[in-house]
Amino acid sequence: MSARSAPPAVQVRGLVRTFTLKGVLNGIDLDIAPGEFVALLGRSGSGKSTLLRALAGIDHEADGVGEIVLPERQSVIFQDARLLPWMRVLDNVVLGLAGNDVRERGRTALAEVGLSGRERAWPHELSGGEQQRVALARALVREPKLLLADEPFGALDALTRIQMHTLLRRLSDLHDPAVLLVTHDIDEAIVLADRIVLLDQGRLAADLRVELPSAGPARQDRIAGLRRDLHRLLGVEDAPAEHRDHAAVVTTLRGQS
């Protein structure tokens, strides 16, 4: 990947966040280039959500210092779709936007996530995956320069998640925002991101470029190598492929201790 000359879209310097007597982030430095897709990995409780909420500016209850430079237009996707149940789907998508073409833009965004024709549905009439696609449309219709997502697929079933991966990758290529995706799914991070950063003990402990070859055995090798590295960094013994489900369990258990 060539070094980008444009100034970074996101610039975080010396970010510290504490909750009453409990330090969570202690000195985060992070740059994200325009259009760059960064996955944030870390054990449970390592402060991933705290970092994301600090960037989103909704961490009113946390104390801290640090410098954050962000693009003006940013969107947040949460783990739950967070649609307002009293508004129809299209109204949810364009909520807070002004202008006379917003409904048209909203319709386009819904079409992009494959939900044409559902504009007038109530949120509760949609499946979980469809609701999350509405949330994606709501994020993208704002044409963000930065997309913040906190485990947006965590509550979805495996198949829907795969579809959402493809969709998110396609749409982020199309709209080209910088993306910070919080996940604790190593494979999700490898498949989606240009870069993976790892949060540990309140600091960014690793920063890996993914650089996947487009196909072939080289790609598989690269994936296996990254997975091995990440497992080691997260403190999981590298498990053979067949047992990766167990490895995921180990990750979670360790994270909680």
Binding site: L95, G96, D185, Q220, I223
Partner: protein, 292 residues
């Protein structure tokens, strides 16, 4: 296979090459079990009238068979006859109009003030400290205990009557709206923040719809309270209104007119409650609830 490996093509050739075992034939051992439905189902349109109809039937039977002395409680058809007479004389309409006007003004003022103060105290810290504290103290005093003071301050005219009704309406509206406001999902607030909603948009799109169910509950209680307070103030001192009509009839032992008054109160209460419920179904169509 692992859920997230769609792009990873993990070698699985061992399993892939093995022919799948023959499927066991599906045996039909039981019939399809439909789960017991716990929600009572979709209500019929006018099903709510069944209870009142049964009561009316019971009452009629008692009257026909003579179990019910007409001096204690006249028969339903006597009430109908008397109301027709009262309408012909014009007494029922004029008194009804006066009573309805009193109740509606009191209700209107009580709802506006109740909802307004609930918004103020729910959305601003200072408002909460000042207003909510006062309301909680005042809550301990029964409304009717205020009547002597109200008369002292406002006299015995319409102002006192409407103020008392408004006060009776204020509390249920304030308390339910305030509770609903405090229960607004913090996640929706965060969403509003990330979408950059203005204060006004936040109020209109999140706060008001989010607290609407609570407000409507308060409104229903408020409507009931307004009729209750109406009955009390009209017995106190009045020269017009349904309550006046009833008091007058009592002096002459005209049980049929007293009964008409009672029925009118019942119809007013029932009708206005139905109206609020109708409002509820119209405004809360987005909700999925057991009652649907």
């Amino acid at each position: 296979m692992n859920a997230h490996s769609h792009d990873l093509q993990v070698p699985v050739e061992v399993h892939a090459r093995t022919p799948p075992p023959p499927l066991a034939p599906i045996t039909q051992t039981g019939r399809l079990i439909l789960r017991q439905r716990l929600s009572p189902g979709t209500p019929a349109r006018y099903g709510i009238l069944l209870g009142p109809a049964l009561l009316l039937l019971y009452w009629s039977v008692l009257s026909i068979t003579g179990f019910l002395d007409p001096r204690i409680l006249p028969a339903p058809w006597t009430a109908v006859g008397t109301s027709i007479e009262l309408i012909r004389e014009g007494r029922l309409q004029t008194n009804l109009a006066v009573s309805t006007w009193r109740a509606m003004s009191g209700l209107g003022i009580g709802v506006l003030v109740g909802a307004g103060l609930a918004l103020l105290s729910g959305l601003s810290l200072l408002g909460g400290y000042v207003i909510d504290g006062l309301v909680q103290i005042k809550r301990g005093i029964p409304i009717l205990a205020l009547i002597p003071f109200m008369i002292l301050w406002l006299g015995i005219g319409e102002a006192m009557k409407i103020t008392l009704i408004a006060t009776a309406v204020f509390f249920p509206v304030y308390i339910n709206t305030h509770n609903a406001l405090r229960a607004i999902d913090i996640r929706h607030v965060e969403l509003a923040e990330t979408l950059g909603l203005s204060r006004w948009q936040f109020l209109r799109r999140v706060v008001v719809p989010g607290s609407l169910p609570g407000f409507l509950t308060g409104l229903r209680f408020g409507v009931t309270s307004s009729w209750l307070a109406l009955v009390v103030v009209e017995q106190l001192n009045a020269t017009s209104g349904i309550g006046y009509m009833v008091t007058l009839a009592r002096n002459y032992a005209q049980t049929d007119i007293m009964l008409v008054g009672l029925v009118v109160y019942a119809l007013l209460g029932f009708g206005s409650d139905a109206l609020v419920r109708h409002l509820e179904t119209r405004l809360l169509g987005w909700r999925r609830t057991l009652g649907k």
